[in-house]
């Protein structure tokens, strides 16, 4: 469990968070959403120790981490920046992925095993000798994830990982996210994409007005259309169509397809 207790934070004299209290289950995929400037990235940076809260504490599995530097926290939490170019420096994909476990003092054999596993998980095993800077954006983003995974974190924070990616790369990344979660890695996902949020998140936190304005499941969030609009969020396509067709709430295209098929069947029987 990741526990944020009474967190307040100001930046350049502007209050960003005012007494936030939230518990995040680190076995689930938790999406963080909200309008631009509501502090989504700031919240995750506070968790990662890149910024220090003005008041309050952050605990990970009962251990206070809010006063720990990020290079120590890297053992437990992997953080993937929105822009992968911020961290790529090595001359090969392999050495890039190997940086974190070696920097954390992991045994070389174990580090190599972890690097290989991370590269297999992220579908980069056949590009080990490639130069990171020459990869596509999607590959770079997955390399950043591999680099974090090689340190075997308990929790992975992804800051808008799908931004700027094409459909195929997006699908690969989301599939990877699900796979990692099934392996027991908790995921905090910052996203503006409501379709991804509806389809992949187990829990949702919505930030608004310096606090957490909503906490619950995607289904609970999108049930109330007015609240969703008030929070500055768009409805996912499947939810919008299911509303328009006066169907039961559907979060994913697959769910929508099934509901439409059932209705057609029912209409067929009635006729």
């Amino acid at each position: 469990m990741l526990n944020l207790k009474n967190i307040s934070f100001s930046y350049a004299r502007e209050k960003i968070f005012n007494d936030i209290n939230v518990q995040i289950d680190t076995t689930l995929i938790t999406a963080v959403a909200g309008r631009n400037g509501t502090g989504k990235t700031t919240l995750t940076r506070l968790i990662m120790g890149l910024m220090k809260p003005d008041a309050g504490t952050i605990e990970l599995n009962g251990k206070i981490i809010s006063d720990m530097p990020s290079y120590i926290l890297a053992k437990d939490i992997g953080y993937v920046f929105q822009n992968p170019d911020h961290q790529l420096f090595a001359s090969s994909v392999h050495s890039e992925a190997a940086y974190a476990p070696l920097a954390l003092g992991m045994d070389i054999k174990l580090a190599e095993e972890n690097v290989q596993q991370a590269l297999i998980d992220t579908e980069l095993a056949d590009k080990q000798e490639c130069m990171p800077q020459l990869l596509s954006l999607g590959d770079k983003q997955r390399l950043s994830i591999a680099s974090a995974l090689a340190a075997v974190p308990k929790l992975l924070i992804l800051d808008e990982p799908t931004s700027g990616q094409d459909c195929r790369e997006r699908t690969v990344l989301l599939r990877l996210m699900r796979k990692l979660n099934k392996k027991g890695i908790g995921i905090i996902l910052i996203t503006h994409d409501m379709d991804i949020l509806a389809e992949h998140a187990d829990r949702v936190l919505v930030l608004s007005n310096k606090c957490i304005a909503f906490e619950g499941t995607p289904r609970e969030l999108f049930t109330d259309e007015e609240r969703t609009a008030a929070l500055g969020l768009e409805l996912p396509e499947a939810v919008r169509i299911s509303h328009e067709m006066k169907l039961e709430l559907c979060l994913t295209p697959a769910e929508l397809y099934n509901k439409i098929a059932v209705r057609r069947e029912e209409n067929g029987k009635n006729n």
């Binding site: 940076r45 990662m48 890149l50 530097p69 990020s70 290079y71 926290l73 890297a74 053992k75 939490i77 992997g78 953080y79 920046f81 822009n83 170019d85 911020h86 961290q87 790529l88 420096f89 940086y99 974190a100 920097a103 954390l104 800077q133 680099s147 974090a148 340190a151």
Partner: protein
Amino acid sequence: MAKTISVIDFAALTKLLMALTVSVASLCTASLYALGILIFLELFCAALMGGGKVLWKGIGALTVFAVVLALIQLLFGTSLFLAVGSAYKMFIMAVSLLILVATTPTQSITASLVKQCRLPYDYAFMITAVLRFVPDLLKESKEVRQAQACRGFHSAGNPVRRIVDYMMILKPMVFKAISRSENMAISLSLRRFSDKKKRTFMASTKLNAGDYAAMLANLLICIAAVKFA
């Protein structure tokens, strides 16, 4: 952007010439009194022209750097007079440039370099582009450092080890700078950069009485400081 309050606003050319004369004057004298007068002149100008928190923060950092520079020279056996003198000179030249950058829009500097100093536009643009990207680079270096810290990067130990460690920060920045300069070149070409020799500028370069007075006063103080101090 920090809010700036300026008592008086000089043209870019005035500030450029003032920076140049003060820097040349500091190089022409070894007298600590003269250098002291020049420092006082610069700080007075900084207060007069505004520049806000950024400028004063920069001046604070340069003061610390000047002290460190003097101490290092003293450690290596340089006389106190020379050590303090060279720290003063470094401070004067850096602050004059800082005042110019912090209190003048880059478009005004470009316009002034081209229209009044007759510098080819390509070169003037190069100078102002460099000035324009310094804050961006600083911000970027912070982000890169944070991204690496998330992977366990922590620079500690002896200075050689630290320098090697900093390659992790420098490399992504160099790659990004190259990619950014490529994008910028393409974007400029698409907007007909250097297509015509004659171009117009939105920034005004007109000098008023205050500018002439400031240039004259600055010149006289510099000459007096060098000649008589």
